[in-house]
């Protein structure tokens, strides 16, 4: 019996993902739960196990292709009769389910037709998804690409409530009514006249005449990072303030307790939990940094969900520690350890990266002392940590050698002023310099 392997639904709002790697090839035997392929979505990268044991008879998506959720990517024959069972309907459906990159992004050669084609994108793509007449009318009015909206109706049909929620969510992130198709059309037209570069990769070929290049398509994650960064810079007027912190007390404390900590809790004590605790104290003192902007309303969040940026070989991800204020120092450290491990092993679940209310970025790993992080929308502030360096500092009118670092806060000047930022950073500084919390 042949079993269809589907592109899994990895979260409420995820419609597609990039199939990044096949672990098996046609003809290979595979066990149930054995890793079959890897996918990358805008939220997470993860490994997908085979739903059944058998022989892999067909692969229907190439590595690197973007695949719609629930479309068939492979067929496993459970009877073990390797190549005989290849049901026709599935093969037929495959091309539709796996659009080639060329079809998704107009090739440079087709420039003249780009504008015209782009014009019809919104309408055509809106016809291809299940939706109600009312929804199509509202989407046309607001230039919304319905393929980006997830439907809660029968068989995923988009109803009015789905669209209203989508529009509200779009408003909440400050991006206005995101009209991907319409925006793509706009940037394509601009590119054709040779003037501008689109946020997530308008074509710049005209600017590179005579330069030897290699073209590498962005990964799904890269695309999302690019989109998100541009959107954030466009949304929030960023201001960054910096403060210098004497870390000697924290450094000494960690040196003293790190072995005991590891033997007690089973993992290494890093510096990050100290900064997380200091940030939580500062959020308590300056709650506006944990807010969001909704039109002309400020939303103060009652929970603090700390997002910690984790650099990966293949990009960047921000796992979220839910209800951070309710955790002990060890609890924070343990959750961080667990999430960072999951991120590196591609085991993050969609929920692990959702709901952040304030973010921390540690850019000091390579020695950078000051950076200006970009706010993780729809948040309004992000704390950055520079490299720890030994420096001569003045202590009680004498010069001493101390370990110091720079802590920065990039904030959204629409709702946060310099005085708030100053108060935040000084609270971080005071908490770290006068550390009083037991660490084991």
């Amino acid at each position: 019996m042949a079993t269809n392997v589907l592109m899994p639904q990895m979260g409420e709002s995820i419609n597609e993902g990039t199939l990044t790697k096949w672990h098996k090839k046609v003809g290979d035997k595979i066990q149930r739960e054995e890793i079959l392929f890897e996918i990358s979505t805008d939220k997470v990268d993860t490994e997908i196990p085979s739903p059944v044991s058998g022989t892999l008879v067909q692969l229907l998506a190439a590595e690197g292709s973007v695949v719609a959720v629930n479309s068939v990517v492979a067929i496993v024959d459970e009877s073990g009769a390797a190549t005989s069972a290849t049901p026709a309907p599935v093969a037929q459906a495959a091309p539709a389910a796996v659009p080639t990159p060329a079809a998704a992004a107009p090739a440079p050669a087709a420039k003249e037709s780009v504008a015209a084609a782009a014009e019809s994108i919104a309408e055509d793509s809106n016809r291809a998804v299940k939706s109600s007449p009312l929804v199509r009318k509202m989407a046309a009015e607001h230039n919304i690409d319905l393929s980006k909206v997830s439907g809660s109706g029968e068989h995923g049909r988009i109803n009015k409530q789905d669209l209203v929620s989508y529009m509200e969510a779009a408003k909440g992130t400050g991006s206005g009514l995101v009209a991907s198709a319409a925006q793509a059309a706009f940037s394509a037209v601009k590119t054709a006249s040779g003037s501008a570069v689109d946020s997530t990769g308008g074509q710049i070929s005209g600017l590179l005449d005579g330069v030897r290049v290699e073209r590498v398509p962005m990964t799904q994650m890269r695309k999302k990072i690019a989109e998100h960064m541009v959107m954030s810079k466009r949304t929030s007027p960023h201001v960054t303030s910096v403060i210098e912190v004497d870390l000697q007390k924290v450094v000494d404390l960690r040196a003293k307790f790190k072995d005991k900590f590891e033997s007690l809790h089973g993992f290494k004590l890093s510096f990050m939990p100290f900064f997380m605790h200091a940030a939580l104290e500062a959020i308590k003192a300056v709650p506006i940094v944990n807010a969001s902007v909704d039109g002309d309303t400020i939303i103060y969040k009652k929970d603090v969900n700390l997002g910690i940026a984790v650099a990966l070989d293949w990009g960047l991800i921000v796992p979220v520690i839910k209800n951070s204020t309710e955790r002990s120092f060890v609890g924070l450290a343990r959750e961080l350890e667990s999430l960072a491990g999951k991120a590196r092993n591609k085991k993050l679940a969609p929920d692990d990266v959702k709901g952040g209310t304030f973010s921390i970025s540690n850019f000091g790993g390579f020695g950078t002392i000051i950076g200006q992080p970009i706010i993780n929308q729809p948040q309004v502030a992000i704390m950055g940590i520079g490299a720890m360096v030994k420096k001569p500092v003045v202590v009680n009118d004498a010069i001493a050698i101390r370990t110091t670092c720079h802590v920065v806060l990039s904030f959204d000047h629409r709702v946060i002023d310099g005085s708030d930022s100053g108060k935040f950073l000084s609270t971080v500084k005071n908490t770290l310099e006068n550390w009083s919390l037991p660490v084991v």
Binding site: S132, P133, E141, S152, E154, N159
Partner: protein, 471 residues
Amino acid sequence: MSTSYDLVVIGSGPAGYVAAIHGAQSGLKTALIEKKDWLGGTCLNVGCIPTKAMLHSASMFDKASKLASYGVKIAGADKPGGITLDFPQVNKRKDEIVKHVNGGVAFLMKKNKVDVIRGMGRLAGANTVEVTAADGSKSKIQAKNIILATGSKVRELPHIKIDGKDILSSDHILYIDKVPESLAILGGGVVGSEFASCFGRFGSKVAIFEMSEQLVPTEDFETAAELAKALKKQNVEIFTSVKVKSITAKGGKVEVQVEGETAPRVFEKALISVGRAPVTEDIGLETVGIKADARGFIPVDLKTYKTSAANVYAVGDIIPTPQLAHTASAEAMFAVDVICGKKRTPINYLTNPGAIYTYPEVASIGHREQDLKKEGREYSVGKFPFSAIAKARIEDASDGFVKILTDKKYGEILGVHIVHAKATELIAEFSLGNNLEMTIDELAHTIHPHPTISETILEAAHAAKGHAIHI
């Protein structure tokens, strides 16, 4: 009979028996518990079915006197007393219909292998239902899931005693043996209006006393006015914005004292129809920690119909949603689907049709105009009278109108109000259309058959867009 089930349903009305069938069809081992000796609950036994049977007799009686105008002559019919109402036969026919449909439900239980357990069902702690049989013996049943569908009963007022002889509830008036000369009806809602239309046409002199400022207070104001106009032609006097201080039985008559009047008004019988109260007392809610609200309704999550207790669901008249049989059935099937792990889109109550079986009938869906006005929404009104429709003339049913309220921007259909002899059938077009979120454009571009009553809907759709054809 087993003592352990996947699903136990308490109450066999249109919520309960439908839940039981759908559960059994979905592969659940199902039991249905009913305390009375009937199946089908209020709807089938003392509600929808018998009242509509009586109303149909009223319509036939009404039509009989007009037969000559259609060219149908019955010898002697034009003489005084030539056409008379055989009220015992009205009741007999009604009872036969109820009996027939009752047997149908029993058959469906057997066909679907639902165990019907006779007795009073009560929750008795987690996953347990206790059944008290008629002889007082108690037994316990284990249930993985329980659906409460205990329905509603006639609401009573503290200052008016329903004696079942002269002062009646809807349960009693279905079993009176003669048409009263005069009938006072307290409450001009759905039940009151239907019995007024019924007994008014049977020949009673009827008076409705309604506390709110309009008849059928939950309907659109134009619907209320149209219905009031029609009822007045059926021997029904209507008093709105009145308070009744007392109703007392005295020497075979009933005295109705209206506030602000010097003397009581005297009637042969009185009907108290002031709504229906949920049956949520003495069903063991406390054993699983469910708390009914101040009005006795059980709070549920309308996305799942789950109560606050694990594996206990509640549907129908006992939850604070419209008290309608078809609504109850829809909720019941939804709850079963949730139990079976099926993904369902929550019921949109704005697409839930309301139906009143007066002459003419009233059917509605969505918002009323007075509410849209109050909310300050931008809307258009498309209204078309049946008097301009040929088929309505042919069928001698020209009373009423179709009124469609649409959103100005997108043409979303916000509300529909139909008054007509066949309104409750006509509204189904909007049950479907609104559920699929059609707009006024799709409706206006839908070809309707001619000549029909349903053409009026097309005309009203054109009217909503500002250009009705046949007026």
